[in-house]
Symmetry: C2
Subunit: 435 residues, 2 copies
């Protein structure tokens, strides 16, 4: 069909004109004297009024999801969705769907259990609600990158096949690498720190791999990590300031690029305060004890219930969806964590809670070569597997720190999805390797 194609979202600009739409048969409603074709393209839905019996029959013979071109006249109709319809269509079949979809794609939500939806991801992702989630994903990534670029950060891409396990051993996937053992990177931690020596400020958006044998609604074995690292910091507070800006940029990115998706999913967007409230780990446990009577003051970490309680506290006391908890006990953080010079046994590491769930881990890192050698020795780790990493510190490195945001977890909290698989394109877990 020679008529130039327009997007469904552009119909309103072409009232009275003949246009071509192209897309998928989202729904065909056949009434006594008229049929309504709902066509779906990448931008949305369009209503097409079919009065011609032959065209109605042509469409009636197709399964939903068949791909068609439709040429017709744009008519302004106040009661139509979006205020416009296509009338008097001619339809050309591009590609027939070979079977009816196993669930209705036109309902507001797919009426199937999550495993069924995930098994049929190539189809289910076409549903407007599912698709909208990944519009938010793309917009979040762009917002992250552009914010950091504006702050003089340089994008890097670091290797995912590595010679040794990043954080010290457990939960890595092993690869057979030309007769050697190699591993999938659990994080770009070592490389992003190394690159502070080159660019001072770096970020990376890339997959990370965790061989954790957990089957929970918040764990994935592969996910996208938004990583950042910066040099010449005072301490972890400079890292928190950049993280705050990155989050604000991700929210702004969604508002700019994906306003329709936000509306469709009824996303309650968080306000990112200019300064996110922060509480020291030990003060958080004191507070919980004082307010709830639960004494976790000798615990080395926050329980999920305590994270939820603190999230609620931040919301009611500070009007914030976000809360920094900083100063976790040093021995619970990785060996490269910088100690708090003012509180022996505590670190300059932090977590960021978003609506009561850990979303980000970050902190200040050690930067002196001798401190690395001492930290490894103290944990009984040999220096040799870390030789390439240690080289960065041997030859002079400024105080630095960084953070990592889990993209799928960010989206899950944002749309309040109970299971992070709902915000993962093609999730990988203990039992799922396909599609």
């Amino acid at each position: 069909m020679e008529t130039v194609r327009i997007w469904s979202s552009e119909l309103g600009q072409h009232v009275g004109e003949q246009v071509r739409l192209s897309g998928w048969v989202h729904r065909l409603r056949e009434l006594a004297n008229v049929s309504f074709l709902i066509l779906r393209d990448a931008k949305g839905l369009a209503q097409i009024v079919v009065e011609d019996r032959a065209v109605a029959a042509q469409l009636g013979a197709l399964h939903a999801e068949s791909v068609v071109h439709v040429v017709g006249t744009v008519v302004a109709v106040p009661q139509a969705p979006g205020g416009v319809e296509l009338h008097a269509p001619a339809v050309e079949l591009v590609s027939a769907s070979a079977a009816p979809p196993p669930f209705d794609m036109f309902r507001p939500t797919i009426k199937a259990q999550l495993p069924t939806i995930l098994d049929h991801a190539p189809l289910a992702l076409r549903h407007p609600r599912h698709r909208a989630i990944f519009q938010l994903s793309a917009a979040s990534m762009r917002g992250f990158r552009e914010t950091l670029r504006g702050l003089d950060f340089t994008e890097i891409q670091t290797p995912k096949i590595v010679a040794s396990a990043t954080e010290g051993g457990a939960n890595v996937f092993a690869i057979e690498y030309f007769g050697q053992k190699a591993y999938l990177a659990q994080s770009p931690q070592f490389y992003k720190q190394t690159m502070v020596g080159v660019f001072e400020r770096v970020f990376e958006v890339a997959p990370v791999f965790r061989a954790e044998p957990h089957d929970t609604p918040r764990h994935l074995n592969e996910y996208v990590s938004l990583d950042c690292e910066l040099g010449f910091i005072r301490d972890h507070r400079d890292v928190q300031a950049v993280l705050t800006q990155a989050l604000a940029g991700m929210v702004a990115g969604m508002q700019q690029d994906a306003a329709d998706a936000l509306a469709l999913l009824k996303v309650r967007l968080p306000a990112v305060p200019a300064k996110i409230p922060a509480i020291h780990f030990s003060e958080a446990l004191e507070l919980i004890f004082r307010e709830t009577g639960e004494d976790a003051r000798h615990e080395p970490d926050l329980a999920p219930a305590h994270e939820r309680w603190l999230g609620e506290w931040a919301r009611t006391q500070h009007g914030s969806d976000f809360l920094f908890v900083w100063g976790y006990p040093l021995h619970k953080r990785p060996f490269y964590t910088h100690p708090d010079p003012d509180r022996p046994g505590y670190s300059n590491g932090f977590d960021l809670l978003f609506r009561g769930l850990e979303l980000v881990t970050g902190g200040q890192r050690l930067h002196r070569y001798a401190d690395y050698l001492a930290a490894l020795a103290e944990r009984g780790l040999p220096a040799e597997p870390f030789e390439g990493y240690l080289m960065a510190f041997k030859y002079g490195m400024p105080p630095h720190g960084g953070f990592a945001i889990g993209l799928e977890r960010w989206l899950a909290r944002l749309i309040e999805a109970p299971n992070v698989r709902e915000t993962t394109l093609f999730p990988r877990d203990l039992n799922r390797l396909a599609p």
Copy 2:
């Protein structure tokens, strides 16, 4: 030091003022009555004139690459590099380098063999020339993404752990996945095609993994692939048009973000013509026969020497650094390749030569479910391992196609590096897994 830090590149805006620079001791030149400290930060180099004997001694005790703060007064000096120097400095040591670097970092190029440079990547990447390469990398990625976003493409992130080998079997890395066999994705091919059903136009910038046991200057076992796929195309020519725009965007990105790096590396930037010349595979072989007497007309692929010859031909005959060779024999392309409807046995697949080397592979794909079943059967491949992929076609898919650019290879051709490892941050090859 309380004075606010400025970048070395900002000195010219602060003549007469007291400022702080922070960075690495790039070089110390000690003359009879004066020393010159060259300080390197993320933005460049600064010359600092040290007349105070105590400060000179303080600096003289440091190895190169030590990290320092320097407070001094900016003085305009026409004969100084960049026309400005810092005078009367006070120096504060931030972090001492623990050893002298194994090669001089201040020379125009590192005087060492490539393996030595790669062994010391955490240090060598700090060298201005090496660092500049990865500024071009970051700028290329941004240009790619922004161009495609401007053309209504949506960014995706697809899984790298997959259940079956993408293109049919060989050269995949195997992973132990909770007792199952899994593989590292050789490309996002299946997923990006699947996502055409969702967003119509998608792109991905992510690592790909090839277990090819080749040790050549142009092969890597892990590299960054700039992938793109789009629906509702006429044929491969619409893909070529998008690729042309993406390349122009990558060049523009470098000009905007990395002009200094382009200048330092003396990059001969390609002009990307609005329409890149294209030659059919069989016509290319005819041309080579006619012009050189070499008869490769029965070969199913282009030899590297013929690619080089064609690159030269495109330059002299069309004034273009780029040349599309399209219509490769169908049996030499992957099973999902769309045939040329007008030439039996040939495909709508293409390669893009950049200065005589294959940089991009792309083409139109099959889009009808029945065609996929037939193509798999014809090659003796079972349909079952491809079930998730085939689902996308079962439920209606428009004509589509796409391409993949190897980021490191792009950079290597651009700076005319003889070995692609020079444009790879931390290369992975047959013999190299670290750093």
